[in-house]
């Protein structure tokens, strides 16, 4: 395990930001860390990086205890936390050079390579104060890479990037993991990005872990059946009698859309039951949930952004 963290707890006054959270991140993987705003993601990342003292935690990173060997851990770890902050009166190259000197290794070749990878070669000698937010984000990723870190924490790394930039960063993250064996711990609100980029995901809500696992397996577990019908009450009554679980229900005026628990195997007998109960069907199909659906379901948030008050 690249990260083995248990019983992470942190309070700010009377507010418990993180409550007995366990986290396991496999070496060489890209691990997504998801949660709504205020779930405690950045707090957990700051604890794992030693920027914040937890109320309690047992944390092992790269096989070493965080609280006993932080310097050794940080010599092999890079990170962007919140927003990338650099010395704006220095050039991109100078920032990377002096920061890598603090890690005990200022290899100019490595710095040049990191700058090339993030696409900042043409502006390496320009002052950071002339950079756009997206360029600073790229520079942040470059500084997280040097010198030859084994573990990288990226807190919202694609914020401020255009679609091309997002694609580049996604490819870069996959490249770091697949070609260089670097473990990437990635926190993001862009669920589609996490789905496409990450091997594993941990979802937290209000400081608690609600779900953890391989992305592909998680999506398989959350297969469902989509039913479109105008006979809303009839269907709900049938499902109550048959003990079938309804995940979500949406009413679009002409008909209602239901997502129910079950795999594609239950479609034929289900159709028979619906027809026998005189429930009109506009459509029935297997529905593959995307990570966003799982996230919404587990954290109780509606797709339009508000909390699910049901």
């Amino acid at each position: 395990m690249a990260i083995k963290a248990q019983h992470i707890t942190k309070s700010f006054g009377t507010f418990k930001a993180v409550d007995d959270l366990d986290l396991y991140v496999r070496e060489g993987s890209v691990h997504g860390f998801l949660g709504p705003n205020g779930a405690g993601k950045t707090t957990v990342i700051r604890i794992l990086l030693g920027l914040l003292s937890p109320d309690s935690a047992e944390v092992e990173i790269l096989g070493k205890d965080l609280f006993m060997s932080r310097d050794q851990i940080m010599s092999q770890t890079g990170a962007i936390v919140e927003y990338p902050a650099f010395f704006e009166y220095m050039t991109a190259y100078e920032n990377l050079y002096y920061l890598s000197r603090l890690s005990g290794c200022a290899d100019k070749t490595m710095i040049e390579k990191a700058i090339d990878i993030v696409g900042l070669s043409k502006v390496r000698n320009k002052l950071v104060k002339t950079f756009s937010y997206g360029m600073k984000q790229r520079l942040g990723i470059a500084q997280a890479m040097i010198p030859e870190n084994k573990l990288i924490f990226l807190d919202e790394p694609v914020n401020g990037l255009d679609p091309h930039g997002i694609l580049d960063i996604r490819n870069l993250i996959r490249q770091l993991s697949e070609n260089h064996g670097i473990t990437v711990f990635l926190s993001s609100h862009l669920l589609s990005e996490v789905e496409q980029t990450c091997d594993y995901v941990t979802i937290i809500h209000k400081g608690h872990k609600v779900c953890e696992g391989k992305v592909s397996e998680l999506m398989k577990q959350h297969e469902s059946i989509e039913i479109l019908t105008p006979d809303r009450e009839l269907l709900k009554n049938l499902f109550a009698r048959e003990n079938l679980k309804i995940f979500t229900e949406e009413d679009s005026g002409e008909y209602s859309r239901f997502l129910i628990e079950g795999s594609e195997n239950i479609v034929p007998p289900l159709v028979e039951k619906l027809v026998n109960n005189k429930i009109r069907l506009y459509g029935i199909a297997k529905h593959q949930k995307v990570l966003e659906d799982i996230f919404v379901e587990l954290t109780g948030y509606k797709k339009d952004g508000g909390p699910d008050r049901a």
Binding site: L51, D71, M74, S75, A85, E94, L102
Partner: protein, 286 residues
């Protein structure tokens, strides 16, 4: 036994701080202020000399007593009381609290560096910068004064300017240059106190504006209260009570016992500030 990795880290940190100082052009800013201040002071000195050309002080011509060394000594007084504390407070606050506020400190602390190393490297660099200000003033004021008023000669010491008493006496030419260098050396020591105090307040408040207001508030309030005779019962407790050790340099016979006593108290204050500031910085959630 020397701990080589720690020395390398301190060298890397100090190199970064030095680079930041140069890149932010703080040396130009400080030098600019010193030049402006010296120009204004020289104008005042010239006019004073002109109006007192025919006067005699202690039997000597006043014009002869107001020479380059006297000018340089006089320039230090308002600089060390007002100008340098203000500059040091603003730049130390910007360096320490400013980087905590803006996030650059977090970027640095994501590297394998000890917070004590970061704190002390910053302290050393700001102390170095304060020495630069003092030495720049010495060089600029003495150069200007030498050109305009003559390089050396006897120097009249006005007690109301230097010693906060009504005394007046003349220092002979053979000792004045040594006294000038001593005065500026002791002033360098005083600036370390100001840097340490500002480092501590920066670590405690973590905000630039709060640091500047609190540190300058404490400093100037202490000096104002120390000049009020009816506040004499609290004079011994004021933070700036033992700070102006540079005054001892212009006394005919330097009271070394008193100087040693005041330096010792100042060193205790400096160590306290650094320990409190270092602990606060180590406990800061970044």
């Amino acid at each position: 036994m020397l701990n080589l990795p720690v020395i390398k880290k301190m060298a890397a940190l100090t190199g970064l701080e030095y680079k930041k100082l140069i890149r932010q052009k703080l040396h130009y800013t400080g030098l600019g202020v010193v030049l402006f201040f010296t120009c204004l002071s020289s104008l005042g000195f010239i006019m004073h000399r002109m109006r007192n050309a025919k006067k005699k002080i202690e039997g000597e011509a006043a014009a002869e007593l107001l020479n380059g060394i006297a000018f340089s000594m006089t320039c230090l007084v308002p600089a060390i009381y007002v100008l340098f504390p203000m500059i040091i407070s603003i730049f130390t606050a910007t360096s320490m609290a400013g980087e905590l506020q803006n996030g650059q400190m977090r970027t640095m602390l994501l590297r394998p560096v000890s917070r004590w190393n970061v704190f002390f490297s910053r302290f050393f660099m700001m102390s170095f910068y304060s020495f630069f200000l003092v030495i720049a003033l010495l060089f600029v004021s003495y150069s200007c004064g030498s050109v305009m008023f003559g390089a050396t000669g006897d120097v009249v010491i006005f007690g109301e300017i230097f010693l906060r008493n009504g005394s007046r006496y003349i220092l002979p030419e053979k000792v004045v240059f040594t006294k000038l260098l001593l005065m500026y050396s002791f002033a360098c020591f005083s600036t370390i106190y100001l840097v340490a105090m500002n480092m501590m307040i920066s670590a405690l408040t973590k905000k630039v504006s709060h640091t500047i207001v609190i540190s300058l508030g404490i400093y100037y309030t202490s000096y104002i209260l120390s000049s009020l005779s009816f506040m004499k019962h609290i004079h011994a407790f004021l933070p700036t009570r033992y700070l102006d050790i540079w005054r001892f340099a212009v006394v005919r016979d330097i009271p070394w016992d008193q100087l040693f006593h005041d330096c010792t108290i100042d060193i205790c204050y400096i160590v306290s500030f650094l320990v409190i500031g270092g602990i606060a910085f180590n406990m800061t959630e970044v």
